[in-house]
């Protein structure tokens, strides 16, 4: 990106590449610390990371079990005899 910079060990691009793992907690401890250093000093990465995380959070839908009984009736009528 324009104005790409290195803060700590990682550049903005290297932070972008690690966003998913940063968010799901699978980043190795050393890299996690370095991403935190970068994001702590880079407004643009902090803002984009926040939007990325907010998007992932907004996607989650609660489980709903609506019409499973009707489906079960339909399927039971279709079962091959045993």
């Amino acid at each position: 990106m324009k104005g790409e910079r290195r803060l700590g060990r990682f550049t903005c691009s290297e932070v972008l590449l690690r966003l998913a793992s940063f968010l799901d907690g699978t980043l190795p401890a050393g890299e996690l610390a370095e991403v935190r250093v970068h994001v702590g000093g880079c407004d643009r990465c902090a803002r984009f990371g926040g939007e990325y995380a907010a998007t992932v959070a907004a996607l989650r839908e609660p489980a709903a079990g609506a019409d499973s009984d009707d489906l079960a009736d339909t399927l039971l009528s279709r079962l091959e005899p045993r």
Binding site: F48, Y52, R60, G65, S68, A72, L75, R78
Partner: protein, 194 residues
Amino acid sequence: VPDEEAVDRALLARIAAGDRTAFRALVVAHSAAVGRYLRVFAPDVGDDALQEAFLAAWRHAGQFGDRGSVRGWLMTTGRRAALRLRSREVASEELSSEPGVDALGEAAGWGRASDPAAFARALESRELLHRGLEALSTTDREAIVLVDVLGHEYDEACAVTGLGLGAFKSRLHRARLRLIAALRAHVPEVSHEG
């Protein structure tokens, strides 16, 4: 969650013996989650594929063996059924040349000034989220639905899609960036660096 697995396996054992009550219990336990996944993966044939998955479970309950989670098995079976039912080939979508993560990030607004409040408002619109998901390729949408919408663990998502962990996470990350780019289209830009 090993308890749920034990319950599912007990149901399969009874289904293998021809127990229809156990079959109903399996449908009630898993059809909502498996159906939501299949309807996203293949909107045109998702409901038919869902039925095929459970009918296959009835036929093959005795051969489940040690294949991981029962729900994962239903999803994989349903996915195969959807591909069979649909003439369009999904695999061809995966081979097109992939833009790099930087390019996808820039399209998503990475490194550009934006109004966080406006983006947050966009996220509150289920309709915008839905339209953004619709605009993705089948495989990108599938990755987001499996993990972000339905909350499946990576190992289950990998089993269903047939990808290794690294490849799946890469697809998920790219898919999220494409979704953010689609959402960003509805957010006004600010003219100065924030």
